[in-house]
Amino acid sequence: MSAFHKTEAIKSWGRVQSGYHWAAVPHWRDEIPSLLDEKTQSQATVLATGKGRSYGDSSLNVSGRIVSMTRLNRLIAFDPVTGLLRAEAGLSLADLIAFSVPRGFYPPVVPGTSHVTLGGMVANDVHGKNHHAAGTIGRWVTAIELVRSDGSHVCLTPTEHADLFSATIGGLGLTGVMTEIEIRLRPIQSAEMVVEDVPFGDLGAFFELARESDGSWEYTVAWIDCVSTGRKLGRGIFTRARHAADGGFDAGSVTSRLSMPVDLPRWVFNSSSIKLFNELYWRKKANRRGPRRQCLAKVLFPLDSIGHWNRMYGSDGMYQYQCVVPPECGRDVVRELLLQASAAGEGSFLAVLKTFGGLLSPGLLSFPMEGVTLALDLPNRGTRTLALMGRLDGVVSEAGGRLYPAKDGRMSSAMFKPGYPHWEKFAAHVDPAFSSCFWRRVMA
């Protein structure tokens, strides 16, 4: 039996892009080199993949090969004093947290879902709601074991093979297969967080709240009602949280109790229902005052409580448009983006706004930079949605911003290259046997 088998169409999380692949599912690190060997395997390009939570096409390599890493989920070493953890790259964040929380440690940076692998977190140099305090995950990576298609194993650290290290952090899996990753976890005193929701009336108030909170609250994020216009434009709920100082280590489950069993029909999402949702959400949250305590998972992974929530957007799927723009023009650009989105009648179900701090991202293709990031979930309505995102692109590039590859399934080469000025330096480190749908598109 060949190590690679032909799959059915694999969809990414946004469910717009899909296609068949030749997939291998190794169970051991020692299988990786032979899977990459072009002499014994096919000539088609290869890509390591994790849990498939990238929204667009950065984790797809349609009609090529993929090496699914999720069975490589072993711990290799853990130091209960320093919190240094070394593990296989397919370890899921949910499993990592289930292991580390009872031991009094937490990943220094987590994205908005726990259904990602360690390798996926590093390949996308993910950020979290604590970006202003901790930067990206790449800042906490102390070593990566990388296997290349020429059969070489390279141990990357911030000082050894530093160039390849910085290409691999945020490198979308294109520099080889990460088999082992070592990161520094942070101590926590509790499995709970102290959380506060603060309603704000407009964008000015958001930036005021962000400035006031970033020093004293480790995690901050805001939901924006992006349907309301005029005086209410940019109103939202600012959520700020920090780890509680006491309360024990009962991890609090991240398992989903609800699940979306089928695709919702597309008529469910129309401008009225989106408007209604935004209004109800606003009313629910706006009346709650004062800090409260909640388990980590509820604060950091709210959507993990609904399995397959992406099916809410129906069989046509959804796009997420996530950009970052520099601080100077942040307020004006965000206002313009929200105006464009609501004018197009493509009001988003979920719009999230967060300020990024000045901590440098270590990856050549890392997305975060100092400024403000806006993420809009847009139901896929075909050309209408693409046209809207095209207009948003204009606003973002004008401002010197860029888009997040992990969320993207359509940005042009002309949008990508100016946004990522180190792309040429990065491209030199791409393993010649590796590629992805995303990479072929932005290099075209």
């Binding site: 039996m1 088998h5 599912v25 169970h27 051991w28 690190r29 020692d30 069975r71 072993r74 711990l75 290799i76 070493a77 853990f78 292991f99």
Partner: protein, 253 residues
């Protein structure tokens, strides 16, 4: 919680099996002392590091070709000595699915399937049972398969071997009845492991190794000599066994 009077020990034969590894993680989380046995030192070591990090009080590995080994008593004594003379849990996890159509033509393949899943498993199980009897306590856990409950064309050589090991294990359990030790055969349904790669794994009848492992862990301390994993296979197999041959023969699964 771990009892802190004595650290319990587990001997896992076929330690690199995906299901064995998932069970071992549960043992490790309980702080047990573990000995993993298999053919590949490198792979056993990868698992041992993981189990150590997860809280096992100690993890040792031993490379033995369980199917080829002939000095089973001597090797078993050496393994027991490595665990300090006491075995609280002995798991027989090695197995080989094989290629049914090939086995029908090729005696070598048929022999491989029968010896891995029956003769070798049986000899190790008998040896382990002997130790548990002398020791006066302990749990023998043998991994079986729902394929052993009724022969069908897709995998009856494997199924026959699994039927044999199930009968042997039931016999050991019967012999142990009302004494200190216990034995259980766990009949496992289709599970998403490397052994079954190449099968179409969609559908509700496929289980994850973690799910199966939690059932095995409970079975190791339970009373029943025959456990299905997951439990619904008991009822499915009851129906399958009851289907009259004229109808069964027209079915293609």
């Amino acid at each position: 919680m771990t009892n802190n009077v004595t650290t319990r020990t587990a001997l896992i034969l076929g330690g690199t099996s995906a299901i064995a590894e998932a069970v071992a993680r549960l043992f490790a989380a309980e702080g047990m002392r573990l000995l993993l046995v298999g053919r590949s030192a490198g792979r056993l070591q990868a698992i041992a590091s993981d189990l150590t990090a997860r809280g096992a009080s100690s993890v040792e590995i031993e490379t033995v070709d369980l199917v080829a080994e002939t000095a089973i008593h001597a090797v078993f004594d050496r393994l027991v000595a490595k665990l300090g003379g006491r075995v609280d849990y002995a798991l027989i996890c090695h197995g080989y699915l094989g290629d049914q159509p090939l086995a029908e033509r090729d005696q070598v393949e048929a022999g491989r399937i029968l010896s891995a899943n029956f003769s070798s498993a049986a000899l190790w199980a008998l040896t382990a049972a002997g130790h548990l009897r002398r020791q006066g306590h302990g749990s023998l856990v043998v991994l079986g398969s729902v394929a052993g409950d009724r022969g069908r064309r897709a995998n009856f050589v494997y199924g026959a071997a699994k039927a044999g090991i199930a009968t042997l294990c039931e016999g050991i359990a019967h012999e142990f009845a009302a004494t200190g030790p216990k034995a259980v055969i766990v009949k496992i349904g289709p599970t998403d492991t490397p052994m079954t790669d190449g099968f179409d794994k969609r559908g509700v009848l496929w289980s994850k190794p973690e799910k199966v492992a939690s059932i095995i862990r409970r079975a190791a301390d339970g009373k029943s000599p025959v456990v299905y994993a997951p439990g619904f296979w008991r009822w499915i197999m009851m129906i399958i066994k009851a289907i009259p041959a004229p109808i069964f023969n027209r079915m293609s699964f």
